[in-house]
Symmetry: C2
Subunit: 316 residues, 2 copies
């Protein structure tokens, strides 16, 4: 009866890749996903949840595998007409993708919570695993830059991460209630481990950790908590992680990511190119495993997932 359970914490494209691997080896009873909502925003009157959508599209097979976000077989007629009408076109919304934003927004306006809406819409696309937004309450990442404070999507998409970062805030996080299903998974006797996917620490994982109760539960978690490095050979596979590290004056090293989570991490997964960092990370009092972490093929995703779960099981 008591199926062993794993909880994956993810945001963004790299996280979704490992999530797909994990979902291919662990069934819906054994695996759930905690997803970042810090990059959600209201756009054109719609509630857009980029990290939820990337995960839903990835797990359902709807994702555009070239970009890692948005829908496959997408068309852009809406955007072209919006442009003709003088609307805001800096955030790309495909015709298929629009249905997600419109239907989510409609359901939220009816009073449903984000978790329930996510469950139902993901279910419609055939996703059986639970996707748990960190909170139904708004958490909004804001980026402090040399050009001033920017809403996350203005920084990330409109300004293409160009302004130099000096800090972050997660508006609403302090008073946000942690999704109770996340607490239930973390407190479950069946919990075998928690996996932080290779996501940006500053803008994918930290917004979730800012929601009261999550970090505490990770610190107190009797099952191992491990993270997979989003930094490989001093570079990020995708996204501004390393650019942010440089601007924040932090060495662009996988060991810095391990250090970032040192208060609750029991294990860290390094790419084999970074094996020289193992000793430094072990000195943070966590176990280290190295493997091939760059995910290009589906086999890469499944292989890394298997290696990470094995690592978690060894630590348990």
């Amino acid at each position: 009866m008591n199926t062993p359970r794993y909880l994956a914490i993810t945001g963004g494209i790299g996280g979704a890749k490992l999530s797909l691997g994990l979902a291919s080896i662990l069934g819906p009873e054994a695996l759930a996903f905690v997803v970042n909502t810090g990059d959600d925003f209201e756009h054109l009157g719609l509630h857009v949840s980029p990290d939820i959508d990337t995960l839903v599209y990835t797990l359902s097979g709807e994702v555009d595998t070239e970009t890692g976000w948005g829908c496959r077989d997408e068309s852009w007629q809406f955007m072209a007409m919006l442009d003709a009408l003088g609307g805001e076109t800096w955030f790309q919304l495909g015709d298929r993708d629009m249905a997600m934003h419109v239907e989510r927004s409609r359901r939220l306006a009816e009073g449903q919570g984000l978790a329930q809406v996510t469950k139902e819409l993901a279910g419609r696309l055939g996703v059986a695993h639970r996707i748990l937004p960190v909170s139904d309450d708004p958490v909004r990442t804001r980026v402090q830059t040399t050009a001033g404070w920017l809403d996350f999507q203005h920084y990330f998409v409109r300004d293409r991460c160009e302004p130099a970062v000096t800090g972050f805030e997660f508006a609403g996080a302090e008073s946000a209630r942690l999704n109770p299903d996340i607490a239930a998974w973390l407190e479950s006797e069946a919990l075998r481990g928690v996996i932080l996917c290779p996501s940006n620490p500053f803008v994918s994982i930290d917004p979730m950790l800012a929601v009261p109760g999550l970090r505490d539960r990770l610190c107190a978690c009797p099952a191992p908590v491990v993270a997979v490095s989003p930094v490989v050979g001093g570079d990020a596979i995708k996204g501004p992680t390393v650019k942010m590290m440089r601007e924040l004056g932090v060495p662009n090293s996988a060991s810095q990511v391990a250090s970032h989570y040192r208060d609750f991490l029991d294990g860290f997964v390094l790419d084999s190119v970074d094996v020289a960092l193992a000793g430094e990370i072990e000195s943070l009092r966590m176990a280290v495993m190295h493997t091939h972490t760059v995910m290009v093929s589906l086999e890469d995703r499944t292989g890394l997932a298997r290696a990470v779960v094995d690592f978690v099981d060894r630590l348990g």
Copy 2:
């Protein structure tokens, strides 16, 4: 300086056809359109204005000429995905068309009025003529049927006009303020005539007449007011006009349309097939002109427009 001015009152596809003809012979200084908003509705959180859109798309050349509504070169990816997500799909929203609803809704939510939004969005598509929604305040047609009261689009689109009609109401009309630009055109010394396009009297024209001030101004109008019959040989070219007449126990004759407007009409344009009705309509104390009114080609639209304007000018 004082360009002669004409005001066309329109709703729906037949009205838009004549409107296009009128716009091809009268410039933006000489012609403005009063448009029905009684079939506007909130759908999926968006403000949809079907009659405004039909006119905007028709005048801009964006219209799907096969259907008479929606956009040419349209695609339906949004609808297919909405269907997959379990959303409401009874009202067809094309991918290009969606941009209009989203951008209009965004601007309305910002506090702009419907008239201003309409002017700006139509202008973006190259429409120079003024399109004047009857009011910025909501007017919502509701249809009393043997199946109960129905919101207009539920009756018209979802239920395909199947329930038998017993009456109408125009919620909000009593307290709606007439668009001041409509009052200004009707009170202009340059006004040469008012043209009711061949639109459904019950659900395209009556909702506008229910807005305080419009009917009074038409009754008091020193320039001729003429209507073009939407009923030809006892049939409607498109839409439920004749079905409604039958259900309401009104003879399905063009003369009934003339009678419907008899308190303010100075002239009536019949199709030549209905020339036998001329005497009956003249007995309502209005002038009658007959011509070919069925508009298939652009030449038909322009030809009818020219004939109607000549008729108005003769009555002036």
